[in-house]
C-alpha cells in the first residue's frame, strides 16, 4: 500500500497523463482496488487544493476528474497555437441548446422549436464532436431518432450533470398573460427537462 503522499503523486501523474477524465473506478484500479473510494476522494480534494493558484486545475466532471487549463490561460494558449479554434454557428448552438434542455428530442422537435429546417450537417457536427448521440427512436411513422447530450458534452463544458446547465430564463413567469387564456403557455409549469 502506498503512503498517502505516494498515492497522491501517483494520482496526479495518472490524471496528468490521461486526456480523458478518469472515474473513481479507473483511479481505484491504479491501486488494485486497495484504496477505498472515500480515501481516494479525500486525496483528490487535497490534490485539487494543491493546484490552487496555478494556471492548470483539477476539474471534477461528469465522467470523472481531469487536469485542464483554467479559462484565464486562453490568451497564452492562443499565442502558442495561432489558428483560432472554430466557433459553432448559431444554428449549431441553438440545436445543441434544444437537445441539452429538452432531451430526448427528434429532429422534428428541434425544427418545431427553431421554426426552420435543421440540416443533417448540424446534427453531424454535434455528433462528430461527441456531444450528442441517438439514444433511441420515437415510435411514430419513420421512427425518428431521439437525440440526447453525452457525458463528453458535460465534460467539455466543465459540468458534472445536466442540472448544472445555466437555468433557462423564463419571461412568461415574470409577466402576466393579459386576457389570461386558459391553455396558453403550458411550458411555464414544467421547466427544465434536464436530468
Amino acid at each position: 500500500m502506498p503512503s498517502p503522499t505516494e498515492a497522491k503523486r501517483i494520482l496526479e501523474a495518472a490524471l496528468l497523463a490521461s486526456q480523458e477524465p478518469l472515474s473513481l473506478v479507473d483511479l481505484r484500479r491504479l491501486f488494485d482496488d486497495q484504496l477505498g473510494a472515500d480515501t481516494l476522494k479525500n486525496l483528490l480534494a487535497e490534490l485539487r487544493e494543491e493546484w490552487n493558484g496555478r494556471a492548470v486545475e483539477l476539474a471534477s466532471l461528469a465522467s470523472g476528474w481531469r487536469f485542464q487549463t483554467r479559462p484565464e490561460f486562453r490568451p497564452f494558449a492562443e499565442k502558442l497555437q495561432p489558428e483560432k479554434p472554430p466557433r459553432y454557428s448559431r444554428a449549431v448552438m441553438e440545436t445543441l441548446a434544444i437537445i441539452a434542455y429538452r432531451q430526448p428530442v427528434t429532429r422534428g422537435d428541434i425544427e418545431d422549436i427553431r421554426g426552420v429546417t435543421v440540416s443533417t450537417q448540424i446534427i453531424q457536427t454535434l455528433e462528430s464532436r461527441g456531444w450528442i448521440d441517438a439514444v433511441g427512436h420515437r415510435e411514430t411513422p419513420g421512427r425518428p431518432a431521439l437525440y440526447a447530450t453525452t457525458k463528453s458534452f458535460l465534460d467539455d463544458l466543465g459540468l458534472r450533470s445536466l442540472q448544472e446547465l445555466p437555468p433557462l430564463e423564463d419571461i412568461a413567469q415574470t409577466l402576466q398573460l393579459e386576457p389570461a387564456p386558459a391553455t396558453v403557455v403550458p411550458e411555464a409549469a414544467n421547466e427544465p427537462a434536464a436530468g
Partner: protein
C-alpha cells in the same frame, strides 16, 4: 385589441401579400451592402419575429398583430428583393400571421369566447420557447469549452525506457508441454512427476556449482541442514548426472575423498 389605427389612413407605397406597405421600415435604412448581412443573420421566421417584437418593445404576451405582421412582411420582401434565398418557412409564417390577424378581427359570439383560445396563443408559446432556447444557446456558447477556451492536459507517458517483455506463467508452460505431448503422442517416456522435477532441478544446480568451482569434494554437494529428503534427492541427482555421463566421480583409493567434476571438463 391594441391595434394602432393612425397608419390606416396613410397612402400605402406598396402592397405586400395584400398588406399595405406604408413606408420603408426605419431600421432598414442601412448601407446597401450591410443589409444582406443583417437579413442573413436571422435564424428563421421566429428569430425575425422576436427581433421585431424586441425592437419595437412590444408585449410578447399581448402582441399587436397588425403592425407586427406588416413589419414582418416588409422584411420578407426586403429579403426577396436582395435575392436572398428565402426559406419556405418565412412564407408559411407570413400566412400564419395573416390568419391570426384576420381571426382577431372577426366578431366572436360571447358564448364561444369563453372556451376559445386566443388565436395568438400558439404563436406566443412558440416565440417564448424559441427565445428561451436562443438565450440558452448564447449562454452555452459563453461557457468555457474544452478545445476552444480550455486545454485538457495530457502529458507524455514515458514507455520507451524498458523493452516490454512477454509475461509467462507456470500454467502457460504446462500448456506448452501439454501441446507438445499431444503432438508427439509421447507418453510414459516423458512423464514428469514432482519427484523427478526435484531431481532434475538438483541436477541443474550441481552442474551450475561445478561451473564455478571445477572440482568439488563429494561431501560438499550435500547440506545436511536441508534435511534427509534433500540429501536423497541430491544423491539421486548426482547418480543421474553420472549415468548421463555429465559428471565424473573420482577416488584415488578406497576411503580417500571422492571428487566430483564435470565430465571431461575443458582445461582452462
Amino acid at each position: 385589441m391594441s391595434e394602432p389605427t393612425q397608419l390606416a389612413l396613410a397612402t400605402p407605397v406598396a402592397r405586400i401579400y395584400g398588406e399595405p406597405l406604408i413606408e420603408i421600415p426605419q431600421d432598414l435604412y442601412i448601407p446597401p451592402g450591410a443589409l444582406e448581412v443583417i437579413l442573413e443573420a436571422f435564424e428563421g421566421p421566429l428569430d425575425l419575429l422576436l427581433y421585431l417584437i424586441r425592437k419595437e418593445n412590444l408585449d410578447i404576451l399581448d402582441i399587436p398583430m397588425a403592425p407586427l405582421t406588416r413589419q414582418y412582411l416588409e422584411y420578407v420582401e426586403a429579403m426577396r428583393a436582395t435575392n436572398l434565398e428565402l426559406a419556405a418557412e418565412y412564407l408559411v409564417m407570413a400566412a400564419t400571421l395573416m390568419a391570426i390577424k384576420s381571426r382577431l378581427l372577426l366578431p366572436r359570439p360571447p358564448a364561444v369566447e369563453l372556451g376559445e383560445e386566443d388565436p395568438r396563443a400558439e404563436l406566443v408559446r412558440r416565440l417564448l420557447e424559441y427565445e428561451r432556447m436562443k438565450k440558452a444557446a448564447l449562454q452555452l456558447d459563453q461557457m468555457p469549452q474544452v478545445g476552444r477556451d480550455i486545454i485538457a492536459v495530457c502529458v507524455w507517458v514515458e514507455r520507451t525506457v524498458a523493452e516490454r517483455l512477454p509475461e509467462v506463467n507456470a500454467q502457460d508452460l504446462a500448456e506448452a508441454w501439454r501441446t507438445l505431448l499431444h503432438r508427439a503422442r509421447l507418453s510414459a517416456h516423458h512423464r514428469v512427476s514432482r519427484e523427478e522435477l526435484s531431481v532434475r532441478e538438483h541436477m541443474s544446480g550441481i552442474l551450475r556449482r561445478l561451473q564455478e568451482r571445477r572440482v568439488l569434494e563429494f561431501g560438499e554437494l550435500f547440506d545436511p541442514a536441508l534435511g534427509v529428503a534433500v540429501l536423497v534427492v541430491t544423491l539421486l541427482a548426482v547418480l543421474e548426472l553420472a549415468r548421463e555421463s555429465l559428471l565424473e566421480l573420482t577416488q584415488s583409493e578406497s576411503y580417500a575423498p571422492i571428487y566430483v567434476k564435470l565430465a571431461h571438463a575443458e582445461p582452462h
